[in-house]
C-alpha cells in the first residue's frame, strides 16, 4: 500500500533554519539523507523529494484563452509542502512509524523537532463517488 508522508511548513523556508548552528543544519540534512538511504535499502521508498521554498511558489489558473494566469499570492495561514516521502508498505502502522522517524529529525542543539508529518494513503484508482 502506498502512502505519502508530507512535511508541511508555515514558515517561508529559510526562516525555519534561522538561528541554527552550522552543525545542526548539517546534522538535520544528514539525518534526512540517512533516512532516505535506509528506506531505499528496505525497498519501502518509492520517492522522496524536497521542494523549493514557498516564496517561489506560483498559483496558476487557466485564463479565458487557455493562457496561464500566474500569481504568487497565497493566504497568510497557508501551509506549504516542504517535502515528502512516498512509501510502499504492508500496513498503515508501518507508514506511521516511518513518519515518526521523519518527525524526529534533529533541530537546534540536536533535539528532535517533532514536526507533525501528514500521512495520506495514495489511491490506485479514481476517487470513489461517495467516500
Amino acid at each position: 500500500m502506498k502512502y505519502i508522508l508530507m512535511m508541511n511548513t508555515m514558515k517561508a523556508g529559510c526562516e525555519g533554519f534561522s538561528g541554527w548552528e552550522k552543525k545542526d543544519v548539517q546534522a538535520h540534512i544528514a539525518y534526512m539523507i540517512g533516512m532516505a538511504k535506509d528506506l531505499g535499502k528496505s525497498g519501502e521508498l518509492v520517492s522522496a523529494e524536497g521542494l523549493t521554498f514557498p516564496d517561489q511558489a506560483k498559483l496558476v489558473r487557466a485564463g479565458k484563452d487557455g493562457m496561464p494566469i500566474t500569481d504568487g499570492v497565497f493566504p497568510e495561514s497557508k501551509e506549504f509542502l516542504a517535502g515528502y516521502w512516498v512509501v510502499d508498505v504492508a500496513t498503515p502502522e508501518r507508514a506511521y512509524a516511518i513518519a515518526a522517524r521523519g518527525s524526529a529529525a534533529p533541530g537546534p542543539g540536536g533535539a528532535p523537532l517533532n514536526m507533525p508529518i501528514e500521512v495520506r494513503p495514495l489511491m490506485s484508482g479514481p476517487p470513489p463517488v461517495n467516500p
Binding site: 534561522s18 541554527w20 538511504k37
Partner: protein
C-alpha cells in the same frame, strides 16, 4: 525487459560501433527515425546473441546486416499495403546485405550524426537525449535513469526528437561551410550541457550521473579527432578534462558540496590535468582563441595551484577580462567579480556585482546572491552575508547547493549576537 549487465568488452564494442552502423543505415535508406529504430533492434539482438554465441568475425558487418534487414522488413510491411511502392520493395529485396566494410566516410558519419542530433531545431533536452542515444549508444533506460524520468517518457522524448528531424527535413550530410561554425557551436553546446548534467549529483546508490561527464568527454574527443584544427573543440575538451579532474574532491561523504578553495587537492586527477594542460598548450598558440579555450585556461590556472592560497588570481582576472570581451554570458561577469575581489579587494568585486543588478538574465539568479554573500563576508559584513546566503538558498533549484548555502548562513549567523535563536523547520 530484463537486462543482465553486458560484459564490458561487448558493451564497449557496441557503443563504439552503433553510431558507425547508424551512419551506414541512414546513408542507405535516408530515413533517420527508421534507421535509428533498426540499429537499436540490431544492438539488442547483439546484446542477447553475442554473449551466448561468441563475437562474430566482423561485428560491424553483423550489426549492419541485421539493421538493413530490419529496415527492409519495415518498408516491405508498409508498402505491402500500397501497390505503387511494391516495385521499390522488390528492388530492396535484390540488394544483397553485403558486409559493409569500414569506409573512410565512417568518421564523417559519426560527425554528421552529431550535427543532426544537435540541430538547432531541437530543444536542448531533446538534443541531449537523442545525442546520448544515437551517438553515445546509451540505451533509453540508461538515459532515463540518468535524468530521473520514467523510461517511457524518455522513449517518447527521443521519438519526438527523431520526428522533429524528419519534419525539418534535415539532410544526412555535413553542414555547408557557411553554416559549419554555427552548427559546430550547437554541437559543442549540447556536449557541454551533457557534461554539466554529470557535474555533481547527490550521493545515492542508483545515480551514476558522473558517467554523463565521462560520456561527454568521450563524445568531445570524437569531435576533436575529426576536427583537429578547430581550436574551440580542443578548448572544450581541455575544459572538460580540467574540470572533471576535480570530481572526487568536489563532493563530501554525505554528498555535500565542497567549494574549490576547500577541496583536498590530493584527490584531483593529475593525469587528466596534465592531459588538459597539454592540449591547451598545443591549442592556444594556434591563435583562434575563443571562450572555451579561455575557460579552460582559467581551470588550468586553478588546477596548477598547489594550494588555494597559491592560486594565481591576477592571471585568472586577466583571463576573465579577455573572456568578457568575447562572451556575453552573465555568468562570466559573476565569476569575474570574484576574481576582481581576490586581486583588488572585496569592495571592487561588489562594485562589479552591482552592475549585474539590471541584467534581467541573471538578476534573480541564486548565484548572484551567493557570490554577493561570499564577497560581503570577505568585506567583513557578516550580517549582509547571512542575508544573501539565505536569499540564495531560497532561489536555488539544487538540493546540494541549498544545503551548502544554508550551512554557510548558519555558520555565519551563529557568530552574530543571538536575536532569535528559536527555530523550527
Amino acid at each position: 525487459m530484463t537486462t543482465r549487465p553486458l560484459e564490458p568488452a561487448i558493451e564497449h564494442l557496441l557503443r563504439e560501433l552503433t553510431p558507425q552502423v547508424l551512419g551506414s543505415v541512414v546513408r542507405r535508406f535516408r530515413d533517420f527515425a527508421a534507421a535509428e529504430d533498426a540499429v537499436q533492434e540490431a544492438s539488442l539482438a547483439a546484446a542477447t546473441q553475442w554473449p551466448r554465441d561468441g563475437l562474430p568475425e566482423n561485428p560491424r558487418a553483423w550489426l549492419t546486416q541485421v539493421a538493413f534487414r530490419r529496415v527492409t522488413d519495415h518498408i516491405r510491411s508498409e508498402s505491402a499495403r500500397r501497390r505503387r511502392e511494391s516495385e521499390a520493395a522488390f528492388e530492396m529485396e535484390q540488394v544483397a546485405p553485403a558486409a559493409a566494410a569500414a569506409s573512410e566516410s565512417d568518421e564523417d558519419d559519426t560527425l554528421i550524426l552529431l550535427f543532426m542530433c544537435c540541430h538547432p531545431a531541437l530543444t536542448p533536452a531533446s538534443a541531449i537525449a537523442l545525442t546520448l542515444r544515437a551517438v553515445g549508444g546509451l540505451t533509453t533506460a540508461e538515459i532515463a535513469h540518468a535524468f530521473l524520468v520514467p523510461e517511457a517518457t524518455m522513449a517518447q522524448r527521443i521519438s519526438r526528437a527523431k520526428q522533429s528531424i524528419k519534419d525539418s527535413d534535415i539532410p544526412f550530410q555535413l553542414p555547408t561551410s557557411g553554416e559549419r561554425s554555427q552548427r559546430l557551436r550547437a554541437v559543442l553546446h549540447v556536449l557541454y550541457l551533457i557534461f554539466n548534467e554529470g557535474y555533481t549529483s547527490s550521493a545515492g546508490p542508483q545515480l551514476r550521473r558522473a558517467d554523463l561527464s565521462v560520456e561527454a568527454v568521450r563524445l568531445t574527443r570524437i569531435v576533436q579527432q575529426r576536427q583537429p584544427n578547430d581550436t574551440e573543440v580542443a578548448g572544450l575538451l581541455a575544459l572538460m578534462l580540467l574540470t572533471d579532474a576535480r570530481r572526487l574532491a568536489r563532493t563530501g561523504e554525505g554528498g555535500e558540496l565542497i567549494p574549490l578553495a576547500q577541496q583536498d587537492r590530493t584527490l584531483w586527477d593529475r593525469q587528466q590535468i596534465a592531459e588538459g594542460v597539454a592540449l591547451l598548450s598545443a591549442t592556444l598558440p594556434k591563435g583562434a582563441v575563443g571562450p572555451y579555450q579561455l575557460q579552460a585556461a582559467i581551470a588550468a590556472v586553478h588546477d596548477e595551484a598547489a594550494t588555494a592560497e597559491a592560486t594565481d588570481w591576477p592571471q585568472i582576472l586577466a583571463l576573465y577580462n579577455l573572456l568578457k570581451g568575447m562572451s556575453d554570458n552573465p555568468m562570466v561577469a559573476l565569476n569575474r567579480a570574484i576574481a576582481e575581489a581576490m586581486v583588488h579587494g572585496a569592495t571592487k568585486g561588489l562594485e562589479l556585482l552591482d552592475a549585474l543588478k539590471d541584467d534581467p538574465r541573471i538578476a534573480e539568479h541564486h548565484r548572484v546572491d551567493a557570490v554577493r554573500a561570499h564577497l560581503l563576508e570577505l568585506a567583513g559584513d557578516e550580517n549582509g552575508a547571512v542575508k544573501h546566503y539565505q536569499a540564495a538558498a531560497g532561489k536555488t533549484g539544487s538540493l546540494p547547493e541549498r544545503n551548502y548555502l544554508l550551512a554557510q548562513a548558519a555558520r555565519l549567523s551563529s557568530k552574530l549576537p543571538a536575536t532569535n535563536r528559536k527555530g523550527s523547520v
